[in-house]
């Protein structure tokens, strides 16, 4: 999941932002969102009985 998030956030940041600073911040934000939402979903699904 971390590898996937790193790859995808790198492409998103390169394509969606123009300056280096913007790319770094946007890439880190997207990476954190991928990982955070992934972990949150994993815990939600863990407690679901079906």
């Amino acid at each position: 999941m971390l590898l996937f998030a790193a790859f995808v956030s790198a492409i998103f940041s390169v394509v969606a932002r123009d300056t280096v600073k913007e790319r770094v911040f946007y890439g880190l934000k997207v990476f954190a969102e991928f990982v955070g939402i992934g972990i949150a979903l994993a815990w939600i699904l863990y407690f679901l009985p079906f």
Binding site: F4, F7, V8, A10, I11, V14, V15
Partner: protein, 144 residues
């Protein structure tokens, strides 16, 4: 016409062979940006997409095609993932020509990383479509 006269941040006139740039970006990930002189962007895109493709194959994922054993509607269901895989351009075509990566035998399917591998391969193609559109948009002057 106005688009053809737009200049990008480097002062280059946009609109030089946008279709060539788009096709190059599809054929080899990052090549579209290389043609525009955007080396860092091209290197990141090429490295990431080739990396995702390699990781997908290493994880035991398989590429989708229409040459499988499926018949009728099942064959049509192979079309959307095949289009996604096809986004990797030459990487997909090399695998198709050499017959590697298309095996969906039980030996691969039982691997714990099989579905992860499929996801990496599919997303690599989709991201290259995104990069291709980015290169095209820059070339026609819609993006700086």
């Amino acid at each position: 016409m106005a688009l053809r006269e737009t200049k990008d941040l480097r002062g280059n006139v946009a609109g030089k062979n946008p279709w060539l740039v788009g096709v190059a970006a599809w054929v080899f990930p990052g090549a579209g940006h290389f043609l525009q002189g955007r080396w860092v962007r091209g290197l990141i895109i090429g490295g990431v997409i080739c990396g995702m493709f390699a990781v997908g194959l290493l994880f035991g994922g398989h590429l989708f095609g229409l040459g499988g054993k499926e018949v009728g509607v099942s064959k049509l269901l192979q079309l959307p993932p095949m289009i996604a895989n096809l986004g990797t351009g030459l990487l997909y075509l090399i695998c198709w020509a050499s017959g590697s990566g298309f095996s969906d035998s039980a030996e691969y399917a039982k691997l714990a990383t099989f579905e992860y591998g499929n996801t990496f391969l599919l997303v690599a193609g989709l991201l290259n479509y995104l990069a291709m559109l980015d290169a095209f948009d820059i070339s026609v002057g819609r993006k700086p």
